[in-house]
Assembly symmetry: C2
Homo-oligomer: 333 residues x 2
């Protein structure tokens, strides 16, 4: 295993320290925890937003803490759900008297631990609601999930629900906006190379020189199908077709797109994917209002990419384009 | 070779199309060229800023086109200097009547082609000046360079000279500011794994399971020394020591730091590097005003990282923190 680390057991703790220092304009680490909270808390009376999950998905989730997005992000060990007590710390940090919405990706451990934390927070008098993102169309159930997995589409939930919270919507409204994003967002990914979890020390799977895994998740798991590498446009067509068919995307629809690197696939290649997405959208009559191309929800140093499509209505579009200031996403006023 | 591409010969052209579409709020591609220019040109009477070089360093250089940074970026083929006619197109696009500054990294081909383009532009009546960035302390000469190579520190030149141009400084002043950055910036990098140039089809070098290359450039070339992988803190200490010794960095200095992934090294690991940089800075009495941690000047999917340190004075700090709006760097007003 070749990684820039010190001890395997300290990877997450040390990385959080370094990122908290570098991201100091946006976040602070709550001492003794794995929680990154906003450097400057939002005004009281506004709904708080918490997300989190295993580490290894950077810039998720600490990179999305700041004005217009999350109030706190809770990091588990690599590809491991954060514990309820850590999540509770995040909820406390995000509570400004108007309740807290937890944005959870659909993995059994995450859902369970966020549930427990929410119960504990309620005992402290904090109103908590939870939404579960399940945007991955590749599988109906997986090793880690009952139902579809939550992957890169989660970042659009952070952005849009975050903007709703920032403008002063109440908890029920912010939750409803988040659910509307979840109902309209779909993703699917593929891998050209696996990743190596530090504590395990070897790749999560092996692939031949010309093989890829289609339908991968974000925890190094293999996809639903192994097949030969094809031209970029063929791969992109398939992912886009699966995602938009599932969404029932109609001609004339307004959409946001994310072309997300799983880690090692460079922006040069993502550009080739983005080009094809714009071509197909033009053919099908989809209007791309916003395209995010880069690293948003990674799987350590896995090579590959995912495509996310979000169907927009006017309000979702306005919230997606509302100001935000975080380490990883910034939208100007 | 496993890459998300169609034909090897179309990689750069197709990627530029896709990135131009996705980055449309900031850039437009000048038709028939490899030039990305600002979507909205700056007011006439302001100095224009052009940079560029081979592709494969994304988000350099198109990601830095926009308000407060570059006016145009010129892309060559992968790891290949752009041709003089392409650079000339960039200079024309950046010219708003007050002259154009070209920010060139010190590679023989780049310097020569930018020189030729400058001569051609002068014949058209455009005033052009050139600064050459040579921040890499690893080597004095290399396969591609006479003198030190230009690497990640170049992005600080874009940001600071771009801010000077934006506020209305004249060409001589913008050039002088750029030279002050160059005089005060140093970088050095290392690789854990090589990259593969599409047209070549195989890795630029091979490394044993426990080996790294120290002192690499940004074109897949091996470093100056091959050695066993060590702890992240040891590696970071060495890079930081080389960089700051060369700079003669004094206790009490104010600095900007960049921890730059060469491509495949994830943010999780960069966080561990950043932590150590902050520790050493605290021990040595250096005040880190700004830390950029992420992918700024990559070498395709190479695994590894570089550290850049820029000594700041009050003016350089203010220009670094001035507003900017590009695909890859955004600083709020």
């Amino acid at each position: 295993m070749k990684k820039v680390i010190n001890e395997v057991d300290h990877v997450v703790d040390e990385s959080l320290d370094g990122l908290a220092a570098a991201f100091a304009p946006w976040v602070r680490r709550i001492e003794g925890t794995h929680v990154l909270a906003r450097a400057v808390a939002k005004p009281s009376g506004r709904v708080g937003l918490v997300s989190g999950g295993g580490s290894g998905h950077e810039p998720a989730h600490g990179g999305y803490v700041g004005e217009g997005m999350l109030d706190a992000a809770v990091a588990g060990e690599v590809f491991t759900s954060p514990t309820p007590d850590q999540i509770l710390e995040g909820i406390r940090a995000a509570d400004h008297g108007a309740g807290v919405l937890c944005v959870v990706k659909n993995y059994t451990g995450d859902v369970m631990n966020f549930d427990i934390a929410a119960e504990l927070a309620k005992e402290e008098g904090i109103e908590v609601r939870q939404v579960v993102v399940n945007d991955d169309v590749a599988v109906e159930d997986s090793l880690y999930t009952s139902g579809r997995r939550g992957i890169a589409g989660t970042v659009f939930v952070h952005k849009i629900a975050g903007a709703a919270a920032e403008r002063g919507d109440d908890l029920a409204t912010v939750a409803a906006v988040a659910e509307r994003v979840i109902a309209n967002v779909r993703s699917m990914g593929l891998a050209l190379a696996p990743c190596t979890v530090p504590a395990r020390g070897e790749p999560t799977f092996t692939l031949g020189e010309d093989e890829i895994e289609v339908g991968i998740g974000i925890h190094g798991e293999p996809g639903v199908r192994r097949e030969p590498l094809r031209r970029a446009d063929d791969l992109t067509d398939e992912l886009l077709d699966r995602v938009t068919s599932d969404l029932g995307l109609e001609s004339g629809a307004s959409i946001a797109v994310m072309v997300n690197s799983m880690g090692a696939t460079p922006l040069l290649e993502l550009g080739i994917v983005a080009r094809r997405v714009y071509q197909v959208a033009a053919e099908r009559g989809w209007h791309i209002r916003t395209a995010w191309v880069g690293e948003y929800m990674t799987s350590l140093e896995m090579a590959g990419y995912s495509i996310t499509v979000l169907r927009l209505d006017d309000e979702l579009a306005a919230l997606l384009e509302a100001p935000a200031s975080t380490a990883a996403v910034r939208v100007a006023r």
